[in-house]
Amino acid sequence: MNQTDVIILGGGLVGQTLALALDLHGLSSAVVDRMPTKALLDSSYDGRVSAVASASWNMLNAIGLGEALEGKGCPIGSIRASDGLAPGRLDFESGEGEGPLGIMFENRLLRASLFGASQKAEHIALHMAKSAADVVREQEGVTVTLDDGTILKGSLLIGAEGRGSPTRETAGIRVARWSYRHHAIVATINHERSHGGIAYEIFYPAGPFALLPMLDDAGGHRSALVWTVHEKDGPAMMGLSERAFLAEAEKRMGGFLGNLALAGPRGSYPLGFHHAAKITGERLALVGDSAHGIHPIAGQGLNLGFRDVACLAQVLVEGVRLGMDAGDAELLKRYETWRSLDTLMVAMATDGLTRLFGIPGKTASRIRRFGMTAVDRIPPLKRRFVDEARGSSGKLPLLLQGVTV
């Protein structure tokens, strides 16, 4: 019998991190993902990058990935926000001796490291290239039948399939959602001048144009470009020649990084917001994008998922050490309460930010610049933004402090 503490449906960044966090504390998981291992690790599958906030980095270290990832991400020394190319800007810097605001990692590198660790983990059973054909959650426990007939039994089911989570849908959990009618065009570019460890957020009415610092490669200095465009412009942007695409990008940047070249293929992702009404049910917990998806404007999506992981892992570990069943309703209640406010605050803040910068016209622009200057001059307010970027606001679970439970 394949009996584990939890059954995780979805072996993406968040699902794998949860499995590893639990494994570290002796809790067992079965991880089910429909992707075959080889395809998952293929570099062309995902060209996205993630800003790993310092609190999230603490957790990756605590679960033993520090060594594999050390030196492979680019630290963000400061974030520079501006309203288009107009003068006036807002700089967020980390304080003396505080370490970087976050570290830029290629998603495929995170995925490969997590996967490598999961394969070696004592308490993790990976079921790749499989999907759940039948899921039963009842008072006695959870039973998942895979499409090859394998039967998995567990105390708790975790929905970690991402945005369109079938687990969430089947559980009948309502979701508030809207589309921003925008696409994010994602690409890696090489540029002539160094980025100096600065992340640039240049706000345009269509959305933010972000340049996130990456480590140099054979092609020289490198940044990840996350360019928000109207959804009607998305296909055209993807269809542009490399030369025309880079010329458009240079116009938005004002040329401060010098000559540009594409360092990889472009990708396009529709942007939306969704927020589940509940993140738990009978023997069920949702984590990551299954529970909430936010605008990538502040780079907080993955970090929110990591916070879910840190909270849920702590709740479950503390629960089983009291002899409780990992699917106990009291534990799920604690997870729900701990996460709900934080998630909604971050979601609303990023949504507000998107809307604020999406208003065209000179007056709106002046208000934004006034706002940025005000934030810049009021230290406690600025501190709050920096803490948010670092992922260190709110009541922190132990793993985000870099310590085990």
Partner: protein, 254 residues
């Protein structure tokens, strides 16, 4: 966790005094609902985490256990008196202990056995009062029971007698204060949060009275903590004992 006995067992043992037939029948009716987290025992499910936390800490201290160990009670025997449908016995078994659960209501024991089988836990469940326990145990727990028995002094002697010389006894019970009367009977039973007829306030013991009974039974009380409620944090262990308290005792040196 609940009352003590259905019909007085045919015994001349003084422990037979711990049996109150009216109360036992009342709990029997609730047995099937025990394990529904939203059912009539919802309050007990909510009380469980802080209670288990108290027991775990006391056990860690007493036996110098590793707080990160998932099965720290491996090799130890535990006895839960008034086990209901096993809300405490099952966690103790998961922590590694060899558990005996005793309850006076036959229906409770039937529900407990069925649930343990479902959970894949081997627990020795028996119908009766404290006299049904055989031998002595490392850990004896008795949650929300002493306030229901007819002869608390004799009952406490029975608990002490079921404990190994270096064993640990943990009890919880409501305090006899104006607050507990208001919270548990006027509000709790009045609003249906606690099933009607669960408690008889006059039988409640203060920490001093219970300590007195334990000392008379040759025990030494090493800790008394409050179990309090706050709207923001729910039930928690604190130094506020007006509502309900937990108590740890060991054998007094001879």
């Amino acid at each position: 966790m609940n009352a003590s006995a259905a019909t007085p067992p045919p015994t001349t043992d003084s422990q037979a005094h711990s049996v109150d037939p009216k109360e036992a029948e009342h709990f029997g009716k609730l047995a099937a609902e025990w394990w529904d987290p939203k059912g009539s025992s919802a309050m007990l499910h909510r009380l469980n985490p802080p209670r288990l936390g108290y027991i775990r800490k006391a056990a860690d201290r007493h036996w110098d256990l590793d707080a990160a160990d998932r099965r720290p009670l491996t090799g130890k025997s535990a006895l839960d008196i008034g086990c209901g449908a096993g809300l405490l016995a099952e966690p103790l078994a998961r922590l590694g202990a060899t558990v005996t659960g005793i309850d006076a209501a036959e229906e409770n024991i039937a529900a407990a056995r069925a649930h343990a089988a479902q959970s894949g836990l081997a627990i020795d469940y028996r119908i009766g009062g404290v006299e049904a326990a055989e031998g002595t145990h490392d850990l004896v727990t008795c949650m929300e029971v002493v306030e229901h028995v007819t002869d608390p002094a004799a009952f406490v002697c029975g608990l002490a007698g079921a404990l190994k010389p270096d064993g640990l006894l943990i009890m919880s019970t409501p305090n006899r204060t104006g607050l507990s009367k208001l919270a548990m009977i006027t509000v709790g039973e009045g609003a249906g949060l606690i099933p009607k007829g669960t408690h008889d306030w006059d039988k409640f013991l203060t920490p001093e009275e219970l300590t007195g009974l334990l000392e008379a039974a040759g025990m030494r009380v090493t800790d008394v903590s409050g179990l309090s409620f706050s709207p923001a944090r729910g039930f928690e262990i604190s130094d506020r004992k007006a509502l309900n308290y937990l108590l740890t005792a060991v054998r007094a040196p001879a």
